[in-house]
Amino acid sequence: MTESPISEEPAPSRPRFPWQYALVAVPLVIAGLVFWWGYNRAQPHQFSGAVIQSPTAAPDFTLSSDTGPVSLSDYRGKLVALYFGYTFCPDICPTTLQDVADAIEILDDGDATDVQLIFVTVDPARDTAERLGEYVRHFDESFLGVTGTEEEIGSVATLYGIYYRAGEGSEATGYLMEHTATLLVIDREGNLKEVIPFGVDSDGIAADLEYMLR
């Protein structure tokens, strides 16, 4: 029997849908993504301010608010954001307080309740406890504003390395305060952890707070 002239060519292979490639590529991509995520998470967090590496206990103090005496130690277990300013200030202080309020909004609800902002006035002559309370609560209901005698304010500011001085304004303004405009962040263990300079936006502040709340 004669063999029919069957073509010697192998049957043309149908172009296979590249499942076999997908089988290899997809796990590779997933592995790549997992590695990248893990690598990023393992990177040290980039802080927006100066970090104090060795544990430095934040000195305790007690000052007056319109809801009673406020001591730093009352808030052990929470993050405390400490800011020295004054209510007569039109620009820097409202901007910073708004940035912190916005940062707290960015945090998860659980985290948000663990952050306490305390605004210490460097202008006790003008800033009564009542005025401070109304002022800070405009930005966030949880904020506390505290005052004291000139001596008490002076000693707390010195403990925190905060400089302030009355400077000459204009006839319309009267004196204006110069002051160190940094946000001091004290961690849950009561250590002064970070000094955030003016100008860091709410995203930057939120990222640092969230990292410290982990």
């Binding site: 039109p90 620009d91 820097i92 109304e134």
Partner: protein, 145 residues
């Protein structure tokens, strides 16, 4: 289109030149203020001021019915210490074809002894007095950062 005679062109140019002092060379954009607490004595207004003229100009004075007094101030940071002082007698210089930005942490209009509550959405009139361009009135909008 008929070509204008040299006379007509010259007349037109003179008319345009006569427009100086009506503030048209100054463009103010993005005038805003932050909603500060009702109990706060003062507030601040920020904006961008552009000088389209070919000579420099100075913003000498500001005023607003929303403020007991309005002044130009500058916040300055030196070694971490923030201070603020009134802008000197010459006012704020805006060079020809240039612009000046009034923003948080820098130059700003200080609204002293504010007469109104700064509520988000409200606008207040602010009059800017320039040495060359004369009076320019802007609406300042109160809004969140």
């Amino acid at each position: 289109m008929r070509r204008m005679s040299a006379c007509t062109s010259a007349a037109l140019l003179l008319l345009l030149a006569a427009g100086c002092g009506d503030g048209s060379d100054i463009e103010v954009s993005g005038a805003w203020g932050r909603p500060v607490p009702a109990v706060a004595a003062n507030g601040a207004f920020y904006m961008v001021i552009s000088n389209k003229a070919d000579t420099s100009d100075q913003l000498e004075r500001v005023s607003s019915a929303a403020c007991g007094a309005a002044e130009l101030h500058e916040s300055m940071m030196t070694d971490g210490v923030m201070s603020m002082s009134p802008v000197g007698a010459g006012g704020i210089e805006i060079r020809a074809g240039s612009e000046v930005v009034l923003e948080a942490g820098g130059l700003h209009v200080m609204c002293i002894d504010k007469q109104v509550d700064f509520v988000v959405g409200e606008t207040y009139e602010l009059t800017l007095e320039f040495a060359e361009a004369g009076s320019v009135v802007v609406d300042v909008e109160i809004r969140e950062g």
